[in-house]
Protein backbone atom coordinates (compact mmCIF):
# COMPACT_ATOMS: atom_id res chain seq x y z
CA UNK A 1 0.00 0.00 0.00
CA UNK A 2 1.43 3.35 -0.90
CA UNK A 3 1.46 6.45 1.24
CA UNK A 4 -1.59 8.20 -0.20
CA UNK A 5 -3.72 5.13 0.36
CA UNK A 6 -2.43 4.73 3.91
CA UNK A 7 -3.23 8.35 4.63
CA UNK A 8 -6.70 7.91 3.18
CA UNK A 9 -7.16 4.87 5.39
CA UNK A 10 -5.99 6.83 8.42
CA UNK A 11 -8.41 9.64 7.65
CA UNK A 12 -11.33 7.26 7.17
CA UNK A 13 -10.54 5.46 10.37
CA UNK A 14 -10.16 8.67 12.34
CA UNK A 15 -13.41 9.96 10.92
CA UNK A 16 -15.19 6.79 11.96
CA UNK A 17 -13.92 7.14 15.52
CA UNK A 18 -15.42 10.60 15.74
CA UNK A 19 -18.66 9.63 14.05
CA UNK A 20 -19.15 6.65 16.33
CA UNK A 21 -18.54 8.82 19.34
CA UNK A 22 -15.40 7.11 20.56
CA UNK A 23 -13.52 10.38 20.31
CA UNK A 24 -14.60 13.98 20.59
CA UNK A 25 -13.11 17.37 19.78
CA UNK A 26 -10.71 17.20 22.70
CA UNK A 27 -8.78 14.48 20.90
CA UNK A 28 -8.25 16.90 18.07
CA UNK A 29 -6.81 19.36 20.55
CA UNK A 30 -4.21 16.74 21.40
CA UNK A 31 -3.44 16.22 17.73
CA UNK A 32 -2.95 19.94 17.28
CA UNK A 33 -0.42 19.93 20.10
CA UNK A 34 1.76 17.41 18.29
CA UNK A 35 4.54 18.94 16.21
CA UNK A 36 8.25 18.52 15.37
CA UNK A 37 9.21 19.42 18.93
CA UNK A 38 6.61 17.08 20.39
CA UNK A 39 6.36 14.38 17.74
CA UNK A 40 4.90 11.72 20.01
CA UNK A 41 2.67 13.88 22.12
CA UNK A 42 -0.58 12.08 21.38
CA UNK A 43 0.85 8.63 21.98
CA UNK A 44 2.47 9.85 25.20
CA UNK A 45 -0.69 11.34 26.63
CA UNK A 46 -2.81 8.40 25.57
CA UNK A 47 -0.29 5.98 27.10
CA UNK A 48 -0.56 7.86 30.38
CA UNK A 49 -4.32 7.57 30.06
CA UNK A 50 -4.09 3.81 29.54
CA UNK A 51 -1.87 3.35 32.60
CA UNK A 52 -3.96 5.62 34.75
CA UNK A 53 -7.23 4.03 33.67
CA UNK A 54 -6.05 0.52 34.30
CA UNK A 55 -5.07 1.50 37.81
CA UNK A 56 -8.41 3.17 38.41
CA UNK A 57 -10.41 0.26 37.03
CA UNK A 58 -8.52 -2.07 39.32
CA UNK A 59 -9.18 0.17 42.29
CA UNK A 60 -12.85 0.40 41.36
CA UNK A 61 -13.19 -3.35 41.10
CA UNK A 62 -11.60 -3.71 44.51
CA UNK A 63 -13.71 -0.99 46.09
CA UNK A 64 -16.98 -2.45 44.82
CA UNK A 65 -15.96 -5.89 45.98
CA UNK A 66 -15.90 -4.89 49.62
CA UNK A 67 -18.58 -5.96 52.07
CA UNK A 68 -19.16 -2.39 53.06
CA UNK A 69 -18.71 -0.33 49.92
CA UNK A 70 -17.27 3.11 50.44
CA UNK A 71 -19.24 5.03 47.82
CA UNK A 72 -17.27 8.20 48.38
CA UNK A 73 -14.12 6.40 47.44
CA UNK A 74 -15.80 4.78 44.44
CA UNK A 75 -17.07 8.18 43.34
CA UNK A 76 -13.63 9.71 43.74
CA UNK A 77 -12.12 7.08 41.44
CA UNK A 78 -14.87 7.52 38.86
CA UNK A 79 -14.43 11.29 39.02
CA UNK A 80 -10.75 10.84 38.22
CA UNK A 81 -11.47 8.51 35.35
CA UNK A 82 -14.11 10.86 34.02
CA UNK A 83 -11.59 13.69 34.13
CA UNK A 84 -8.82 11.86 32.37
CA UNK A 85 -11.07 10.41 29.68
CA UNK A 86 -12.47 13.87 29.12
CA UNK A 87 -8.98 15.32 28.82
CA UNK A 88 -8.02 13.00 26.02
CA UNK A 89 -11.39 13.06 24.27
CA UNK A 90 -12.46 9.50 25.06
CA UNK A 91 -16.09 10.48 24.93
CA UNK A 92 -17.83 7.17 25.48
CA UNK A 93 -15.68 6.35 28.50
CA UNK A 94 -16.44 9.79 29.87
CA UNK A 95 -20.18 9.35 29.38
CA UNK A 96 -20.10 5.95 31.03
CA UNK A 97 -18.40 7.58 34.00
CA UNK A 98 -21.09 10.22 34.21
CA UNK A 99 -23.75 7.52 34.49
CA UNK A 100 -21.63 5.71 37.01
CA UNK A 101 -21.40 8.74 39.27
CA UNK A 102 -25.15 9.11 39.36
CA UNK A 103 -25.48 5.59 40.74
CA UNK A 104 -22.71 6.22 43.26
CA UNK A 105 -24.79 9.07 44.55
CA UNK A 106 -27.76 6.73 44.90
CA UNK A 107 -25.48 4.20 46.58
CA UNK A 108 -26.91 1.54 44.31
CA UNK A 109 -24.43 -1.33 44.31
CA UNK A 110 -25.95 -3.37 41.51
CA UNK A 111 -26.21 -0.40 39.22
CA UNK A 112 -22.64 0.54 40.07
CA UNK A 113 -21.40 -2.91 39.20
CA UNK A 114 -23.20 -2.68 35.87
CA UNK A 115 -21.68 0.73 35.29
CA UNK A 116 -18.24 -0.56 36.08
CA UNK A 117 -18.73 -3.25 33.49
CA UNK A 118 -19.88 -0.67 30.99
CA UNK A 119 -16.88 1.57 31.69
CA UNK A 120 -14.53 -1.37 31.30
CA UNK A 121 -16.08 -2.28 27.96
CA UNK A 122 -15.89 1.26 26.65
CA UNK A 123 -12.33 1.53 27.84
CA UNK A 124 -11.33 -1.67 26.04
CA UNK A 125 -13.02 -0.52 22.88
CA UNK A 126 -11.34 2.87 22.78
CA UNK A 127 -8.01 1.34 23.71
CA UNK A 128 -8.20 -1.04 20.77
CA UNK A 129 -9.30 1.73 18.44
CA UNK A 130 -6.50 4.04 19.49
CA UNK A 131 -3.90 1.31 19.25
CA UNK A 132 -5.11 0.58 15.74
CA UNK A 133 -4.88 4.26 14.90
CA UNK A 134 -1.35 4.50 16.24
CA UNK A 135 -0.34 1.44 14.21
CA UNK A 136 -1.63 3.11 11.08
CA UNK A 137 0.37 6.20 11.96
CA UNK A 138 3.52 4.19 12.48
CA UNK A 139 3.08 2.58 9.09
CA UNK A 140 2.69 5.95 7.41
CA UNK A 141 5.71 7.42 9.14
CA UNK A 142 7.77 4.28 8.43
CA UNK A 143 7.46 4.86 4.71
CA UNK A 144 8.36 8.51 5.06
CA UNK A 145 4.82 9.86 4.91
CA UNK A 146 3.24 12.29 7.29
CA UNK A 147 0.06 12.16 9.29
CA UNK A 148 -2.74 14.32 7.88
CA UNK A 149 -3.96 17.39 9.69
CA UNK A 150 -7.63 17.32 10.42
CA UNK A 151 -10.14 20.09 10.68
CA UNK A 152 -13.25 19.65 12.83
CA UNK A 153 -15.59 20.25 9.88
CA UNK A 154 -14.01 17.35 8.10
CA UNK A 155 -14.99 15.07 10.91
CA UNK A 156 -18.68 15.71 10.31
CA UNK A 157 -19.83 16.25 13.85
Amino acid sequence: MEVGQMQRQWLDYTRSLFLEGFLDAQFMQLQQLQDENNPDFVVEVVSLFFQDSERLLKDLTFALDQNAVDFKKVDAHVHQLKGSSSSIGAQRVKNACIDFRNFCEEQNIDACLRCLQQVKEEYCLVKNKLETLFRLEQQIVAVGGSIPLVEPTQMSF
Binding site: V3, D35, V45, G83, S84, S87, P148, V150, E151, P152
Partner: protein
Protein backbone atom coordinates in the same frame (compact mmCIF):
# COMPACT_ATOMS: atom_id res chain seq x y z
CA UNK B 1 2.26 13.88 -6.10
CA UNK B 2 3.56 14.78 -2.78
CA UNK B 3 1.42 14.87 0.28
CA UNK B 4 2.51 17.83 2.27
CA UNK B 5 1.17 17.82 5.75
CA UNK B 6 2.78 17.34 9.03
CA UNK B 7 1.11 18.48 12.19
CA UNK B 8 2.58 21.91 12.41
CA UNK B 9 1.85 23.71 15.56
CA UNK B 10 0.00 26.82 14.54
CA UNK B 11 -0.10 28.34 17.93
CA UNK B 12 3.46 29.57 17.81
CA UNK B 13 2.14 32.37 15.63
CA UNK B 14 -0.73 33.05 17.92
CA UNK B 15 1.15 32.96 21.17
CA UNK B 16 4.43 34.77 20.69
CA UNK B 17 5.67 36.06 24.02
CA UNK B 18 5.86 39.81 24.23
CA UNK B 19 9.03 41.39 22.92
CA UNK B 20 10.00 42.81 26.27
CA UNK B 21 10.04 39.43 28.00
CA UNK B 22 13.59 39.00 29.19
CA UNK B 23 13.26 35.77 31.07
CA UNK B 24 10.81 32.96 30.94
CA UNK B 25 7.38 33.38 32.41
CA UNK B 26 7.15 30.77 35.12
CA UNK B 27 3.97 28.89 35.86
CA UNK B 28 3.45 26.66 38.84
CA UNK B 29 0.92 24.03 37.78
CA UNK B 30 -0.88 22.02 40.43
CA UNK B 31 -2.96 18.99 39.45
CA UNK B 32 -3.30 15.46 40.82
CA UNK B 33 -3.95 14.04 37.34
CA UNK B 34 -0.85 13.01 35.45
CA UNK B 35 -2.72 13.40 32.16
CA UNK B 36 -3.82 16.93 32.96
CA UNK B 37 -0.34 17.88 34.12
CA UNK B 38 1.07 16.68 30.82
CA UNK B 39 -1.54 18.57 28.84
CA UNK B 40 -1.06 21.75 30.83
CA UNK B 41 2.69 21.52 30.57
CA UNK B 42 2.47 21.14 26.80
CA UNK B 43 0.06 24.02 26.43
CA UNK B 44 2.21 26.32 28.53
CA UNK B 45 5.57 25.28 27.08
CA UNK B 46 4.05 25.90 23.66
CA UNK B 47 3.75 29.52 24.62
CA UNK B 48 7.32 29.71 25.89
CA UNK B 49 6.54 29.45 29.56
CA UNK B 50 8.68 27.66 32.03
CA UNK B 51 6.44 25.20 33.85
CA UNK B 52 6.85 23.50 37.21
CA UNK B 53 4.29 20.77 37.84
CA UNK B 54 3.39 19.42 41.24
CA UNK B 55 0.71 16.89 42.04
CA UNK B 56 -0.77 18.37 45.21
CA UNK B 57 -1.52 21.57 47.08
CA UNK B 58 0.89 20.50 49.80
CA UNK B 59 3.73 20.20 47.34
CA UNK B 60 2.80 23.57 45.86
CA UNK B 61 3.03 25.18 49.29
CA UNK B 62 6.34 23.52 49.91
CA UNK B 63 7.62 24.76 46.59
CA UNK B 64 6.56 28.26 47.49
CA UNK B 65 8.23 27.94 50.85
CA UNK B 66 4.99 28.29 52.76
CA UNK B 67 5.32 25.31 55.07
CA UNK B 68 7.74 24.60 57.86
CA UNK B 69 7.94 20.89 57.24
CA UNK B 70 11.01 20.30 55.09
CA UNK B 71 11.12 16.56 55.47
CA UNK B 72 9.68 15.91 52.06
CA UNK B 73 12.38 14.80 49.66
CA UNK B 74 10.46 14.28 46.44
CA UNK B 75 12.45 15.45 43.47
CA UNK B 76 9.61 17.47 42.01
CA UNK B 77 9.75 19.97 44.83
CA UNK B 78 12.41 22.57 45.30
CA UNK B 79 13.17 23.00 48.96
CA UNK B 80 15.79 25.70 48.96
CA UNK B 81 13.42 28.25 50.40
CA UNK B 82 12.51 28.29 54.02
CA UNK B 83 9.28 29.73 55.26
CA UNK B 84 9.91 33.27 56.24
CA UNK B 85 7.70 35.53 58.24
CA UNK B 86 9.13 38.71 56.80
CA UNK B 87 8.15 39.73 53.29
CA UNK B 88 10.77 39.09 50.62
CA UNK B 89 12.57 42.10 49.15
CA UNK B 90 10.87 41.69 45.76
CA UNK B 91 7.21 40.79 45.45
CA UNK B 92 7.68 37.98 42.98
CA UNK B 93 10.87 36.51 44.25
CA UNK B 94 11.57 34.59 47.38
CA UNK B 95 15.08 33.31 47.75
CA UNK B 96 15.53 32.75 44.03
CA UNK B 97 12.19 31.22 43.18
CA UNK B 98 10.07 33.30 40.89
CA UNK B 99 6.52 32.33 40.03
CA UNK B 100 4.47 34.48 37.69
CA UNK B 101 1.28 32.49 37.67
CA UNK B 102 -0.22 29.62 39.62
CA UNK B 103 -2.66 27.32 37.90
CA UNK B 104 -4.39 24.81 40.09
CA UNK B 105 -7.02 22.14 39.75
CA UNK B 106 -9.96 22.66 42.08
CA UNK B 107 -10.75 19.09 43.02
CA UNK B 108 -7.74 17.33 44.48
CA UNK B 109 -7.36 14.78 47.25
CA UNK B 110 -6.13 16.44 50.45
CA UNK B 111 -5.83 20.15 49.90
CA UNK B 112 -8.24 21.51 47.32
CA UNK B 113 -7.40 24.21 44.81
CA UNK B 114 -9.59 26.55 46.80
CA UNK B 115 -7.61 25.86 49.99
CA UNK B 116 -4.41 26.45 48.09
CA UNK B 117 -5.79 29.70 46.73
CA UNK B 118 -6.60 30.91 50.23
CA UNK B 119 -3.14 30.02 51.50
CA UNK B 120 -1.46 31.78 48.61
CA UNK B 121 -3.59 34.89 48.93
CA UNK B 122 -2.79 35.05 52.62
CA UNK B 123 0.94 34.88 52.01
CA UNK B 124 3.75 36.90 50.52
CA UNK B 125 2.78 35.36 47.17
CA UNK B 126 -0.60 37.07 47.25
CA UNK B 127 0.11 39.21 44.22
CA UNK B 128 0.75 36.24 41.99
CA UNK B 129 -2.33 35.56 39.88
CA UNK B 130 -4.02 32.26 40.61
CA UNK B 131 -6.12 30.47 38.04
CA UNK B 132 -8.46 27.69 39.12
CA UNK B 133 -9.34 24.85 36.77
CA UNK B 134 -12.23 22.48 37.17
CA UNK B 135 -14.03 19.85 35.17
CA UNK B 136 -17.27 20.88 36.82
CA UNK B 137 -19.20 23.97 35.97
CA UNK B 138 -20.60 24.97 39.36
CA UNK B 139 -21.46 28.67 39.55
CA UNK B 140 -21.24 28.82 43.33
CA UNK B 141 -17.81 27.25 43.19
CA UNK B 142 -16.72 29.74 40.58
CA UNK B 143 -17.89 32.78 42.51
CA UNK B 144 -16.38 31.41 45.69
CA UNK B 145 -12.99 31.19 44.01
CA UNK B 146 -13.25 34.57 42.41
CA UNK B 147 -14.21 36.13 45.72
CA UNK B 148 -11.19 34.56 47.30
CA UNK B 149 -9.00 36.27 44.72
CA UNK B 150 -8.70 33.85 41.82
CA UNK B 151 -8.14 35.74 38.61
CA UNK B 152 -9.71 33.23 36.28
CA UNK B 153 -11.68 30.07 36.39
CA UNK B 154 -11.10 27.72 33.48
CA UNK B 155 -13.19 24.72 32.60
CA UNK B 156 -11.47 21.47 31.86
CA UNK B 157 -10.47 19.96 29.62
CA UNK B 158 -8.14 22.80 28.83
CA UNK B 159 -7.78 23.79 25.21
CA UNK B 160 -5.50 25.94 23.12
CA UNK B 161 -8.07 28.72 23.18
CA UNK B 162 -7.84 28.87 26.96
CA UNK B 163 -4.30 30.13 26.62
CA UNK B 164 -5.69 33.27 25.04
CA UNK B 165 -7.34 34.09 28.35
CA UNK B 166 -3.98 33.81 30.04
CA UNK B 167 -2.09 36.02 27.60
CA UNK B 168 -2.89 39.24 29.50
CA UNK B 169 -1.30 37.73 32.61
CA UNK B 170 1.83 36.84 30.69
CA UNK B 171 2.23 40.51 29.84
CA UNK B 172 0.82 42.04 33.01
CA UNK B 173 3.17 40.56 35.54
CA UNK B 174 6.21 41.38 33.45
CA UNK B 175 5.19 44.99 33.21
CA UNK B 176 4.56 46.35 36.68
CA UNK B 177 3.12 49.58 35.41
CA UNK B 178 0.46 47.90 33.34
CA UNK B 179 -2.95 48.61 34.80
CA UNK B 180 -5.21 47.24 32.14
CA UNK B 181 -7.71 44.60 33.08
CA UNK B 182 -7.38 41.50 30.96
CA UNK B 183 -9.48 41.95 27.86
CA UNK B 184 -12.32 39.56 27.31
CA UNK B 185 -11.12 37.01 24.89
CA UNK B 186 -13.36 35.54 22.30
CA UNK B 187 -14.55 32.04 22.72
CA UNK B 188 -13.59 29.22 20.48
CA UNK B 189 -16.71 28.37 18.55
CA UNK B 190 -16.37 24.70 19.39
CA UNK B 191 -16.99 25.41 23.04
CA UNK B 192 -20.65 24.96 23.46
CA UNK B 193 -21.59 27.22 26.33
CA UNK B 194 -19.01 25.90 28.71
CA UNK B 195 -16.78 28.94 28.84
CA UNK B 196 -16.90 31.53 31.56
CA UNK B 197 -15.80 35.07 30.90
CA UNK B 198 -14.53 36.92 33.91
CA UNK B 199 -15.00 40.64 33.78
CA UNK B 200 -14.63 42.86 36.80
CA UNK B 201 -15.54 40.04 39.13
CA UNK B 202 -18.87 39.41 37.51
CA UNK B 203 -19.44 36.20 35.70
CA UNK B 204 -21.14 36.07 32.38
CA UNK B 205 -21.60 32.95 30.41
CA UNK B 206 -21.47 33.49 26.74
CA UNK B 207 -22.57 31.42 23.86
CA UNK B 208 -20.11 30.95 21.08
CA UNK B 209 -19.30 34.20 19.37
CA UNK B 210 -17.33 34.73 16.24
CA UNK B 211 -13.72 33.97 16.89
CA UNK B 212 -10.97 36.53 16.44
CA UNK B 213 -8.91 36.20 13.29
CA UNK B 214 -5.99 34.54 14.99
CA UNK B 215 -8.21 31.66 16.05
CA UNK B 216 -8.62 30.79 12.44
CA UNK B 217 -4.89 30.37 12.07
CA UNK B 218 -4.81 27.96 14.94
CA UNK B 219 -7.06 25.56 13.14
CA UNK B 220 -4.98 23.47 10.85
CA UNK B 221 -6.64 22.99 7.54
CA UNK B 222 -6.87 19.67 5.87
CA UNK B 223 -5.28 19.73 2.52
CA UNK B 224 -6.51 17.63 -0.31
CA UNK B 225 -5.18 14.16 -0.38
CA UNK B 226 -3.19 13.31 -3.40
CA UNK B 227 -4.48 10.10 -4.84
CA UNK B 228 -2.04 8.49 -7.17
Amino acid sequence: MEFVNTRKLQLQQQLQPPQQQQQHFHVLAVDDSVIDRKLLERLLRGSSCKVTCVDSGDKALKYLGLVDDLDDTTSSVSLETSSSSSPPPQPLEQEGIKVNLIMTDYCMPGMSGYDLLKRVKGSSWKDVPVVIMSSENVPSRISMCLEEGAEEFLLKPLQLSDLDKLQPYFVKSLDNTCENEPANSSIDSDNDDNVIIINNNSISKRKAISPEPHHERSRPKMKELAVV
